[in-house]
């Protein structure tokens, strides 16, 4: 009996915190993020109603059908009810997946636009590096045995390759606002994960694979990038930032870096 008010109270507390959004997503910074939030809210409403009704019903039967003498009614069920709730849940659940398909397709099925800025990401235990192609638009040749973190060559750039002379390497990600970006994700040791909350995007970075990820950020600012796949003892420290800047600032930053 005591269980019913407890179940109801817990249900209300949970629903309350979802309603007041005390702990919530940061605001999105692109169209994908806005679509993501809409899909989340659709799901939250469906799930919230199911959750509330199921817990409420559980509490109700506990109070209503407690033993007060006499016999329970004898019934083995109701096939019509079974088919109603089977069909209803199937339609609801599958409907949600179908509605989310466009969001997933935008990230993974669509190619990056041809004018997207290519940035190579190199994740390693426990830091990030980003490489830009420089004015020639070409990434220079790299080699494993040339990697030297201490001397600032985390990618193993080959200084004999002229294409690599103007490559810019940075420990944090800088992108121009409102421009399509194409990341080329590489890891050189274990699996890591690139995650920016405000982009509503996440992607594992797997050694031996080259995984592309494209996006656009429409709001200037500095956003955190915490590694989101267990990568070893320094996993919790593996953090960098993504700075979204005006196009002019971005070009200026690149030039400054190239001269270093």
């Amino acid at each position: 009996m005591l269980l019913a008010p407890i179940v109801w109270a817990l249900t209300c507390v949970i629903c309350y915190f979802f309603a007041v959004k005390t702990w919530w997503f940061p605001p999105p910074i692109n169209a994908h993020g806005i679509a993501y939030d809409a899909q989340f809210m659709r799901t939250l409403i469906v799930v919230g109603v199911i959750f509330f009704l199921a817990q409420f019903a559980l509490g109700y039967v506990i109070v209503r059908f407690r033993d007060d003498g006499g016999r329970a009614s004898y019934s083995h069920g109701n096939n019509r009810l079974e088919s109603v709730w089977t069909t209803a849940t199937a339609i609801l659940f599958l409907g949600l997946v179908v509605m989310g398909t466009k969001i997933w397709a935008g990230v993974h099925f669509d190619e990056a636009p041809p004018d997207a800025i290519a940035i190579e990401v190199m994740a390693k235990q426990f830091s990030w590096n980003f490489r830009y192609a420089g004015p020639d638009g070409k990434f220079g040749h790299t080699e494993l045995k040339l990697i030297n973190d201490a001397s600032g060559n985390p990618f193993g750039l080959d200084d004999k390759d002229p294409a690599g002379k103007d490559d810019v390497v940075s420990a944090s990600l800088k992108v121009p606002v409102g421009k399509p970006i194409r990341l080329i994700l590489h890891s050189r040791d274990v699996i890591h994960n690139f995650f920016v909350r405000e982009l509503r995007m996440k992607q594992d970075i797997v050694p031996g694979m080259e995984i592309p990820l494209h996006f656009q950020a429409d709001k200037p600012g500095v956003y955190e990038v915490p590694c989101s796949e267990l990568c070893g003892l320094g996993h919790y420290q593996m953090r960098t930032t993504m700075q979204v800047m005006s196009e002019a600032d971005f070009e200026q930053w690149k030039q400054q870096q190239a001269q270093k």
Binding site: F25, Y36, T101, R197, G232
Partner: protein
């Protein structure tokens, strides 16, 4: 019906044959139960240490330094120690608690009795299966004590972190080898158990025990055994391959071009880290159902018994169990939406994942339907069964978010996932075990558990687990990554530290409440009131024999089943329950 186990063995004399290397399924079931009880306290202690470290990452505790002179030098836990506690918490809980207690513990004890058999089909295999599991546990615990300590790659052990050896971090040397070895041995034990369960259920059902007269617990044990047979075989193969990568230099999971910790790894080439994930989750997802299905069976049995009503939609329940078992093998990819696998396959896995939500929802509806118009008796076991339903709903609905690849783009590897699986495969499954304990203890030990103590324990635990695990969903919304030993490096997590503190306190209090259960268990074993044969007025076969049952269960009599498993409140019957073994004339079956 003739049975291979009939007259197969007589009651053994002597302590060793009776209680240690016993062939009796009842003793083996109890052995598994206590192995699980030991493991759950180890696993829980690890989780408390983790919860302490997460909110006090720099605190110095003198006795930490005594236990771990290097990994907690000066009394401050290192991040690698945190990760090894985390790895071992997950591993011990999943394999040695969630897999062993509901299936190998209760299943071993009650499956043969509920189908009217004298023992399992292969008693020697049964004994070997337990002692192999025991060996696996010893090897697992040993991983704590080797150089470098326990592995830090998580219970999922993704290579290259788990495959490239000591170079990827402390614990990735001998600790990880022992971990893989233990899992491989455990797989062997589980395969033996699974074969035995299936053979027993197929061959040893007594006269009249048709499949559709089996208690739902037997259905869940059967499907769990099939999942175990298919799943553990794959995990065993994957584990052997990983061990080969680590020890003899094969490259199943390690690609070329690795540069780890300032060293070029020249001796590996051509492997695929994703292959491990596919193999692991092909086992790992069915494992979720291995953990939860027996709990669903127990819950169904108890809701029917204590609302004094037949189960609502018995056939629908059976089909739901079977379709969960079947679909459970087709959804592993939903753990890998962010892994870099083909994004088109994500759509297939997402669709199948939503399909598996349907039988789960059917079960919930049927549970409410069973309670509807019932006469509910609030025993402690019934409270745990009702708690199971509540937790199953809470843990299940968050799966609707995670099953969508689009939404997983944010939630993957955040605390939202941690909250989800702890609710459903963690505490819901554990509530199934508590429910089973309070329901079957009188049969197993011949004495009753203390009900008031049981209820206090229930309420504290029920509110406690909600307090620990629901905040995790909000942490997920904030984007809190999981498997972080310390949150101070990420600026946006500064605001959620108080939430972590709250969860830690909830964990300490809930863990303390478990002492009530342990006291109740051991005190009642010795001093509890003597249990009658059928204290709950239940219908299934285990309640037709004395508590505890004689050595061969039915004292040489071959039981004959005349009724379905849940004939409660049948109009015209002299009592409000008809036992499965009651003569047919008591009531013509509906």
């Amino acid at each position: 019906m003739s049975s291979p186990a009939h007259a197969a063995h007589h009651a053994p004399q002597g302590f060793i044959r009776k209680y240690v290397f016993s062939l009796d399924h009842k003793v083996i079931g109890i052995q598994y139960y206590f192995l699980g009880l030991f493991s759950v306290f180890v696993g829980m202690t690890l989780s408390l240490l983790m919860r302490f470290h997460m909110v006090n990452p720099n605190a110095s505790v003198s006795w930490f330094a005594k236990i771990w002179p290097t990994a907690a030098a000066g009394g401050v836990m290192t991040p690698e120690l945190y990760l090894s506690l985390m790895t071992m918490h997950g591993t011990i809980m999943v394999f040695f608690v969630l897999t062993t207690v509901p299936q190998s513990g209760f299943g071993n004890y009650f499956l043969p009795i509920q189908i009217g058999a004298e023992d399992m089909a292969f008693p020697v295999l049964n004994m070997m299966s337990f002692w192999t599991t025991f060996l696996a546990l010893v090897i697992m615990i040993a991983a704590f004590f080797v150089q470098g300590g326990a592995p830090l790659a998580g219970w999922t052990a993704y290579p290259p972190l788990s495959g490239a050896g000591r170079i990827t971090g402390p614990g990735e040397g001998m600790g990880q080898n022992l971990w893989i070895l233990s899992i491989a041995v455990f797989c062997g034990a589980s395969l033996m158990g699974a074969i035995n369960f299936i053979a027993t259920l197929v061959d040893l059902r007594c006269k009249g025990m048709s499949l559709m007269r089996m208690p739902l617990t037997c259905w869940t044990w059967l499907v769990t055994a099939i999942l175990g047979l298919l799943g553990f075989a794959v995990l065993l193969a994957a584990g052997v391959l990983l061990l080969l990568d680590r020890t003899v230099g094969t490259s199943f999971f390690l690609p070329g071009g690795l540069y780890i910790n300032d060293q070029i790894i020249a001796n590996h080439k051509g492997g695929s880290p994703l292959l491990w994930q596919h193999l692991f989750w092909f086992f790992g997802h069915p494992e979720v159902y291995i953990a939860i299905l027996p709990g669903m069976g127990v819950t169904s049995q108890l809701l029917s018994t204590f609302s004094r009503k037949p189960i609502f939609g018995y056939k629908a329940m059976v089909y739901a169990i079977l379709s969960i078992g079947f679909l459970g093998f087709l959804v592993w990819g939903h753990h890998m939406f962010m892994s870099g696998m083909n994004p088109y396959s994500a759509m297939a896995f997402a669709t199948l994942t939503m399909c598996i939500g349907v039988p789960s929802a059917i079960k919930t509806f049927n549970w409410i339907g069973t309670l509807w118009n019932g006469k509910i008796h609030f025993t402690t076991s019934m409270l745990f069964a009702l708690g199971f339903v509540s937790l199953f709903v809470t843990g299940g609905v968050s799966g609707i978010f995670l099953g969508q690849p689009a939404l997983d783009l944010y939630f993957h590897d955040t605390y939202f996932v941690v909250g989800h699986f702890h609710m459903i495969m963690g505490v819901a499954a554990i509530f199934g075990m508590f429910a089973g304990t309070f329901y079957w203890f009188p049969k197993m030990f011949g004495r009753m558990l203390n009900e008031p103590l049981g209820k206090i324990h229930f309420y504290l635990t029920f509110v406690g687990v909600y307090a620990i695990f629901t905040p995790m969903h909000f942490l997920g919304l904030v984007g809190n990554p999981r498997r972080y030993s310390d949150f101070s490096n990420v600026e946006y997590l500064a605001g959620v530290i108080p939430v972590h503190s709250f969860m830690s306190w909830a964990a300490y209090i809930t863990a303390a409440a478990q002492i009530i259960f342990v006291i109740n268990l051991f005190w009642s074993m010795k001093k509890g009131p003597i249990a009658p044969a059928n204290p709950w007025d239940s219908t299934t076969l285990e309640w037709s024999i004395p508590s505890p049952p004689p050595f061969d269960n039915f004292a040489g009599v071959h039981p004959v089943v005349n009724h379905g498993p849940y004939e409660y409140s049948v109009p015209g019957a002299p009592q409000d329950f008809i036992m499965q073994t009651d003569p047919p004339e008591v009531h013509s079956e509906s």
